[in-house]
Every structure is written in C-alpha cells, then in structure tokens.
C-alpha cells in the first residue's frame, strides 16, 4: 500500500518542484520571462507526452512493423502473417462473429436506449427506472458474465433447473438447453449481455438529448392530432439523428474490441471467438507469436479507422469556426 502513495506523490512533487523553481527563476528579469514560459510548456506537457508516446504512438507503428515479421519479431517475412490469417478458419470465424456483434449490439442497444429514454421521460418514477437500467454500466464485463452464466445455467432434463432461462423453458414443457454451447446461436446469448450493459449508456445520453427538443414543436404536433407513435418516428428520431449516430459509433468502438465477456463465458469455445480473443490467444499460444497477434490487432484497428477519420474531420471543422 505504501508504494501506492509513493507513486502518486512522485507525480505531484514533479509538477510542484519544477514549477516552483521556474517561478523563482522567471521573476528575476523580464528577459528570462519568455525563456521561462517555453520551459514551462515543456514541464507541463512532458509527462503526458512521454506516456502518450510510449503507450500509444510508438506501439501503433511497432505493431504495424511486427505484423511483417516472424513470431519472435526478428526476421522479415513480408505478407506471410496476413496470408496465414486469410487461410485460417479460426480467423474467419472470428471475423464473422465480430461482424455479427457489430451489426446487432450497437443497433439494439441504441434502439432500446432510445425507446426507454422516451418511455421514462415525464413519468414520476422515470428516474428510478433509468437508474436501474443504467446500473449494469457500473458492473465489470466479467461480473456481468457471472450474472448471466447463472441465468443460462444448464442441468440435465430430469433435474431441477437452477438457471432462470431453463426453468422458464421447462415450465412451458420444453427440453432444457445448454444455451452457450449451441453454435452460432450462442453468440446471441453472449450479445444479450453486452446489450444489457450498453443500453444504459445509450439511455442516459438520449435522456439528456430528449430535453433539448423544443417543447413547442411537440406541442404543435399534438395539437395537429399526431399520435405519440407518429411524433416519436416523425419528430423525435429525425431530431436526434446526430445523437443516434454518436451513440451508435461509441458502442461500435466498444464492441469492436470486446474481449472480457467472451473470455469469461466461453473462452472462445463453441465457435464464439472474436478477434480480440484470438489475438490474446496468439500473444501467449506456443510461447507467443507477435507477428500473428499484430495482424489481428491491425484488423481491429482497421475497423476504427473510418470513425477515426470522421472524428478528425469534425475536429477540423470545429477549429475553423
């Protein structure tokens, strides 16, 4: 525990001492004032920039480089790792699964988030309802995994089912199922967990956005006799288009690197593996293969590049104003 305080203290004292020295130095003469200012910029930026460089910038280039090298990162092998990936059935399975995840989770989370935000708007117990639906956001993916594994728990046909889902199925007279081992469909049972978590994110952002819709517009529509459903589809959804897009991309980024849920629930078995799991696997499988691991990381990266470009473009536009 002592080391924890030491670590934090180190950074505080770095800023404090270096700045005090500069303060004393800079007050002596006007000439030194400008010099002091440029030094101070460096003092302010240096730690964050060094961390950014070591943990983000350098690794991005290094990962690209490693993807063209052998498993130890020593010999140049050209496109060998990429060719391996294309021919590897596990890789194809992961890409397909990732794709299904990307199609289903952001869409449904955004949809549920919007619907619930609208339902909970202007109801006296709406904020309690929102709290409850938002709560899974605070829970770890692994914790959520345990929660849902308990729901999907399977016992043989004659035994008492302790998993909720099977208990319901059995009470309707059907056979119990080992849900997370049924290929292809098990993906959807894992996705349900992610939707359960991410709907809360969409919900709180939509709740804030709903309040920004001009009241007069809704009133006018009501007076004209539009039904609530009509208002929802013809006014609210078009008005929130931008927000919907933002939330959808936000969840897409999170889903693209999804790892914990699958790692905890199935460890990629029964054909549930996704890219991040396969990558983790290759980081350690057979002593670790940095070439193949890097290729998989790059494939995930390619997925976010359109979003990255779009963000930069928007940032550029804002700077101009």
């Amino acid at each position: 525990m002592f080391i924890v305080f030491l670590g934090i203290l180190f950074f505080i004292s770095y800023f404090h001492i270096s700045n005090l020295v500069l303060d004393v130095y800079g007050r002596r003469s006007f000439k030194r004032y400008h010099f002091e200012n440029s030094i101070r910029v460096i003092v302010f930026i240096a730690p964050a920039f060094i961390v950014l460089f070591i943990f983000i910038l350098y690794p991005v280039f290094e990962t690209v480089r490693l993807s063209f090298y052998d498993k130890f990162g020593r010999e140049f092998v050209g496109l060998y790792n990429y060719k391996w990936a294309i021919g590897d059935p596990e890789f194809r399975r992961s890409i397909l699964n990732n794709f299904v995840w990307l199609l289903v989770v952001p869409t449904l989370s955004t949809f549920f988030g919007l619907v619930i935000a609208k339902l909970a708007d202007n109801i006296w117990w709406g904020s309690i309802a929102k709290s409850i639906i938002f709560m899974p956001m605070a829970i770890s993916f692994v914790g959520a995994g345990v929660i849902w594994k308990f729901i999907y728990e399977y016992r043989g046909p004659g035994d008492t089912q302790i998993g909720l889902l099977n208990a319901i199925i059995v009470s309707f007279g059907y056979e119990p199922q080992a849900w997370i081992t049924i290929p292809f469909w098990n993906n959807f049972f894992l996705m349900a967990i992610m939707i359960w978590i991410q709907t809360g994110l969409a919900l709180v952002i939509f709740s804030a956005a709903l309040r920004s819709i001009p009241k007069e517009m809704l009133e006018a529509a009501r007076i004209d006799g539009a039904s609530e459903l009509k208002i929802f589809f013809s006014i609210i959804i078009p008005y929130l288009e931008q927000t919907i897009l933002v939330i959808w991309t936000l969840i897409t980024i999170i889903v693209l690197r999804i790892f914990d849920i699958i790692f905890a629930m199935t460890n990629g078995e029964w054909q549930t593996g996704v890219l991040a799991n396969l990558m983790y696997d290759w980081m350690f499988r057979g002593g670790g293969d940095s070439g193949r691991g890097s290729v998989l990381a790059i494939v995930i990266m390619i997925g976010v590049i359109p979003i990255l470009a779009w963000n930069l473009y928007k940032h550029r536009q804002e700077q101009k104003i």
């Binding site: 991005v60 290094e62 302790i162 980081m283 963000n311």
Partner: protein, 380 residues
C-alpha cells in the same frame, strides 16, 4: 381525447415496467443467491428462496453412544433442524422407497421393532426395548417446509478462504493510482493545450483525438515487449504494480485529456488574462483558478477512469502476474469460473463482492458519472 391519452400512458408505463424488470432480475438473482445456503443453492432456483418451499432431506440419527435409559426404554433423542431455522416438518419416512410414508406425530416402526416419532419442530425420539448396539443410527427421510432464510456464510468463506479479499485489496492498489496519475498529468496537459501557445499545439490535439479510438489491442504486444526488456535489463520483475499504473495511464490518457480540455475551453478567457496581468504565472493560475473551478469535472473523470480500471480484465491479465499477491478481482473471478464453475455460492458471492465498489460509486455519485459519460460521448 383525455381517455385515449391516459390509456397510451398506462401502456407505456407498463412497457417501461417490463424493461425495468428484465434489467433488474439478473442482478437481483445474483444478490439473492449470494445470501443463500450453499447446499440449497445447488438444488433449487434462487426464486424459490423468496417464498416458503418444500424440501426433501435425509438425516441420520446418532448411534449407540447417544442412548439413554428412560421409563424402561432405551432412547435416542435429538433435533432434525438447526436451532431457529424456522423449518416445519410435513411428512417423513424411514426407507428411501417411501419417503412420505408417515405424518407428523405418527409412530414409525423399524424392522428391529424400534420406534421413532417426530414432532413438527423436528424433535425426534427413537426408542427400543433392547439397548441400541450399532455405532451408526438409522436414516430418516424428511419433507419439510422451509421459510426464506439468508446467511452471510458465503461472504465469510469467499473473502477469507478463496482469496477474493486479497484480490479486492490488489484491485484497489491498481485502480487508485491508475486513476489519480492520469488525472494529475492530464490536467497539466489539458491546461497547456487550452491556455498556452506553443508550436505544434494543433497537431498534438489532433493526435489526442485520433488516440481516443485506437484500440487497446494495438499497444499490447509492443508494450509487453518493452516491459520484458526493461525487467531483464534492470533485473526486476517485468510485471508489477507501477507497470500496470503506467499502462492504465497510457490507455486512459487520451480520453482524460480530451474531456478535461473540453471543460477548460468553456472557462472564460478574461479570467486568465486578468490573472496574467496581475503577474500570476501559469502554475499560479493552474493552482488557484483552474483546480478549484474544475472540481466537478475532476469528479466525473475520476469516476469514469476509476470504474474503467476497477472493471478492467485485459490490462490486469497481461501486465500482472496471476499470483495471489497481484491478481485482480476480475481475473480472480475468471479463474474461479474455470476452476469452481459448479460452486455457485462462490461465484455469485465473489461477483457481488467485485461489484460492491462500482455499485456504491454508482448510487452515491451517479450525477457525476452521467455527466462524465454525456460530456465524453457528445463529442467523442
């Protein structure tokens, strides 16, 4: 017209209630299960524990050493149920083929002509004319009504025997510095990006915005290599707490800086100018003006980053050794899922322990949490 509106309002409230129930049930089930007796947990669904239920149990009476002589009989007396368990006996049997043969207070006769009676509270009396000669007593099959009962036994076991308690401390030792360090260095970084003029500022800002979406996976392999080389070079362990702090700092840096900069940009420029005219240095401004004004923003970012670090699995797996002194809660839970997959009392309780801190933060500081999320997403 009025009636139509109220009907649709009732329908939408019902729909909302439906969503709320679906969303709360999984967590609720976990919580209830963590408080149940571990033997009951594995044979009945958690929902049965909320109401009085019928259960079948087998009890073996003690043998000859427990007998006493009374009224010309040899007797063995005892209690089927634990004190204060609240159980009520319904029926019982003396063979496994007919477990419901006798009513409460009926006399059951064994083959050796010994008799047994049991009352509703589970007090039994087994008597025989001849002395009991066997070391083990006979079995009783009971059907009893079980009122809802909850216990903290699972928590005791999980915290002290299964190593979850230790993992909890480890997670705290990872998450706290991993939240405070980026907060400290990013506040200076964000300040200089907003209020200082220097060459390359716009480029740096663009890099931050690009880094926001770069997946963690891009950094794992090179950084693990750096850590291993560093460890070999200086003869220290490659995986350690400071290493994890810096990794979390690195991965959280872009978003922390971005959120802080957005906040700082909204502060009035005149205030800084006035302070500068008065001869305040940037550090003075930072300490005296920026920090007090930024407390709400700091709170939001602190919560976001803290929850991220607390709930993280991947970074903890890759940059820490999976040994008791370093393993974090999420990794420990995952390990238990593999090794104790059938012991639901350990899994449910462990999961709930891991959720205590996030849930506390969630309920106590929800406002800041939401504010941080909304601020981060509207632009990101």
């Amino acid at each position: 017209m009025m009636k139509k509106i109220s009907l649709s309002s009732i329908l939408s409230q019902l729909l909302l209630l439906f969503f709320v129930i679906i969303w709360i049930i999984p967590t609720f089930g976990l919580f209830i299960s963590s408080l149940r007796d571990k033997d009951l947990l594995s044979i009945s669904g958690w929902w049965t524990s909320l109401t009085t239920t019928e259960i079948n149990e087998i009890y073996r009476m003690p043998g000859m050493s427990a007998q006493i002589e009374e009224d010309g009989y040899f007797k063995i007396k005892g209690k089927l149920f634990e004190e204060n368990s609240g159980k009520k006996l319904e029926r019982f049997g003396i063979t496994s083929k007919k477990i419901n043969e006798f009513n409460v207070s009926e006399v059951a006769v064994f083959k050796d002509e010994s008799e047994v009676t049991i009352d509703e509270d589970g007090n039994y009396e087994w008597r025989s004319k001849k002395a009991f000669k066997k070391k083990k007593g006979k079995r009783l099959f009971t059907t009893s009504l079980n009122p809802p009962s909850f216990t903290f036994e699972n928590y005791k076991e999980v915290l002290f025997k299964e190593g979850i308690g230790r993992a909890f401390v480890n997670t705290m030792a990872v998450a706290l510095p991993s939240t405070l360090i980026p907060l400290i260095i990013c506040s200076f970084f964000a300040y200089s990006l907003t209020w200082m003029k220097f060459f390359g500022r716009d480029t740096l800002l663009a890099i931050i915005i690009a880094s926001l979406v770069v997946p963690l996976q891009m950094s794992l392999i090179p950084i693990l290599t750096i850590y291993n080389d560093f460890g070999a070079l200086f003869g220290v362990a490659a995986k350690s707490y400071p290493g994890v702090w810096m990794a979390h700092t690195g991965f959280g840096l872009a978003s922390t800086t971005f959120l802080l900069r957005n906040f700082l940009k909204s502060l009035p420029n005149e205030m800084m100018e006035a302070a500068k005219v008065d001869g305040a240095s940037h550090y003075d401004i930072f300490l005296r003006i920026i920090i007090p004004l930024s407390i709400p923003a700091f709170a939001s970012i602190f919560i976001l980053q803290f929850l991220w670090c607390w709930n993280d699995l991947l970074v903890g797996l890759v940059f820490l050794d999976q040994v008791p002194s370093e393993i974090i809660l999420t990794a420990k839970l995952k390990e238990l899922l593999g090794s104790r997959g059938e012991n639901w009392e350990i899994l449910t309780t462990g999961a709930f322990v891991s959720m205590t801190v996030p849930l506390f933060i969630f309920f106590a500081l929800q406002r800041y949490f939401i504010r941080g999320l909304v601020a981060g997403s509207v632009k990101g």
